[in-house]
């Protein structure tokens, strides 16, 4: 392992769905310990970024590095085993399995044993509500509770890098605040976070750095404090960052 390498790095990554060119020569660099936020409108390539990290979509050009090593040819299972865990867009729990079974699925690549128990305790500490609902079917939970289980499920993989796809989507403002508090807490406990968001302002408040994605290209990047001062982003805060390339 290379000590100076970033935890995750995209170098000139292109992706295609059939004839559709989605990501266009994208570079990201995420250091261990950071919260990095990826902003952009629908169809800008955010979810494709997440799928590329997880190995569901393969780059047609360029390379993704994790802990300094290329990820090409590495299976999704192996990526999870090495410490990359996703919180999927719209939560995507297994609706007809219990909350406990969902958490077990999160730990699919991990051995059962004391570490599993520790991870479970950590999830319960972050989300006391989850512990109360363990035997309930996940499909019967409210949206906010489902998001807690979704984050808990990802934490059960004991990740170094947590990839979150729109964690605020469909949640009421109170829940969004709670989720973002917990994201910060998880980060303080040592997990690096790469988060796709539409909720620019909230995301920029907790992120250290951010990238702005538009039609598959990174058009802006920098520390959150700087981006928050950016006039174009401020004007466009209702949603998509319609900024000219810098």
């Amino acid at each position: 392992m290379n000590a100076t390498a970033p935890l995750l790095e995209f170098k000139g990554v292109d992706t295609h769905y059939g004839d559709l060119h989605v990501l266009k020569s994208v570079d990201y660099r995420i250091e261990a310990g950071e919260i990095v936020c990826l902003l952009g409108g629908n169809a800008s390539g955010k979810s494709t970024t997440m799928k590329t990290i997880m190995g569901i979509v393969r780059p047609s050009r360029g390379e993704v590095f994790y802990e300094g090593r290329p990820l090409s040819g590495v299976s999704t299972a192996e990526r999870v085993r090495r410490g990359i865990a996703p919180v999927l867009e719209a939560r995507r729990l297994f609706p007809r399995m219990t909350v406990y079974e969902n958490l077990e699925m999160g730990a699919y690549t991990r051995p059962r044993g004391p570490e599993f128990q520790q991870d479970l305790e950590r999830v319960f500490a972050l989300f006391p509500r989850v512990k109360e609902r363990l035997q309930q079917l996940a499909g019967t939970l409210s949206g906010g509770e489902q998001q807690m289980v979704a984050i808990g499920r990802a934490l059960m993989a004991h990740p170094k890098l947590l990839c979150m796809d729109e964690p605020s989507m469909g949640l009421s403002p109170a829940y969004v605040e709670q989720v973002f508090d917990i994201v910060q807490e998880i980060n303080r406990q040592g997990t690096t976070i790469f988060m796709v968001e539409q909720n620019a302002n909230m995301a920029l408040q907790i992120a250290h750095r951010a990238y702005v994605l538009q039609t598959g290209q990174v058009v802006l990047s920098g520390p959150s404090s700087q981006l928050r001062q950016n006039e174009q982003i401020r004007q466009a805060y209702l949603g998509e960052m319609t900024v000219a390339p810098v």
Partner: protein
Amino acid sequence: MTETGVLLQQVVNGLSLGAMYALLAIGFTLVYGILELINFAHFNVFMVASFIGMWALQLLGISGQSRVLTGLALAGSLGFAFVVTMAAAGVIGVVIERVSLRPLRGVPGTAGMITTIGVSYILFNVILLTVGAGSENYPNPLPVHRWQLGQVVVELKEVLIWAVSLILMAGLHIFVSRTRLGKAMRATAQDAEAARMMGVDVDRVVVTAFFLGSALAGAAALIFGLYYNYTSFIIGYTAGLRAFTAAVLGGIGSIPGAMVGGLLIGLIETLGGQLIAVRWTDVIIFSILVLVLVFVPAGLFGRAAPTKS
């Protein structure tokens, strides 16, 4: 025998057939639950497996119904036949998946289903061309024991069928609800992409589904041979369609549904044959298939209607 007695006897017969259909239906349901694919090859995996079971028993020197075994010899020979047949059928299922279906994973539309029709045809004709079109006398080492229970007669072979089916279905239930791979299988059926992102090797889950489904078809095939004392290259088609109807009736994708559906189809077959006419049995069963699909597409235990957009 009184009329009630006849009907009760048909219930006993129906439960035996139903247990066989249930085992066969599980294979359709497992694969459909994960891949949303109707696997027509399953029909003739069942048929081929009945021949494998026959050969396995013949290997032990049993042919026809003349040589009756008892005690340990009976248990051992039947155990051997079940293990060999189920393993071989499972392997056939896995090979079919690897060779002909995996390359088509993710291809939209009916390509996968058309491929399984082709595979089914190949299996059918390989047996027809190598073994021939006649029907084979099935080796059966079971002694003929009958018990009179009130108005009905229960045979030893029926008790055996029920016991084997119960054991296999209980085993399957434990597998999907307790084991890591079994849970991964359920998770994949509910949301394949999410399961994959949790680190589940979806290919392995699919192979497992094919293996288990085909192995259970193997058990059903041996039961068929022991029950009817014959096999032939044509048995896959009718039994397969009835089992598929059972899976649909129970709610395709649902394992308990396949079990209950199988029993119901077995009862409908024997009682329908008794009350109406055997020659109309297939028409009755297909009518049920059509009616269920049109009016209760989710079946008895199904969750999602099969008219997705």
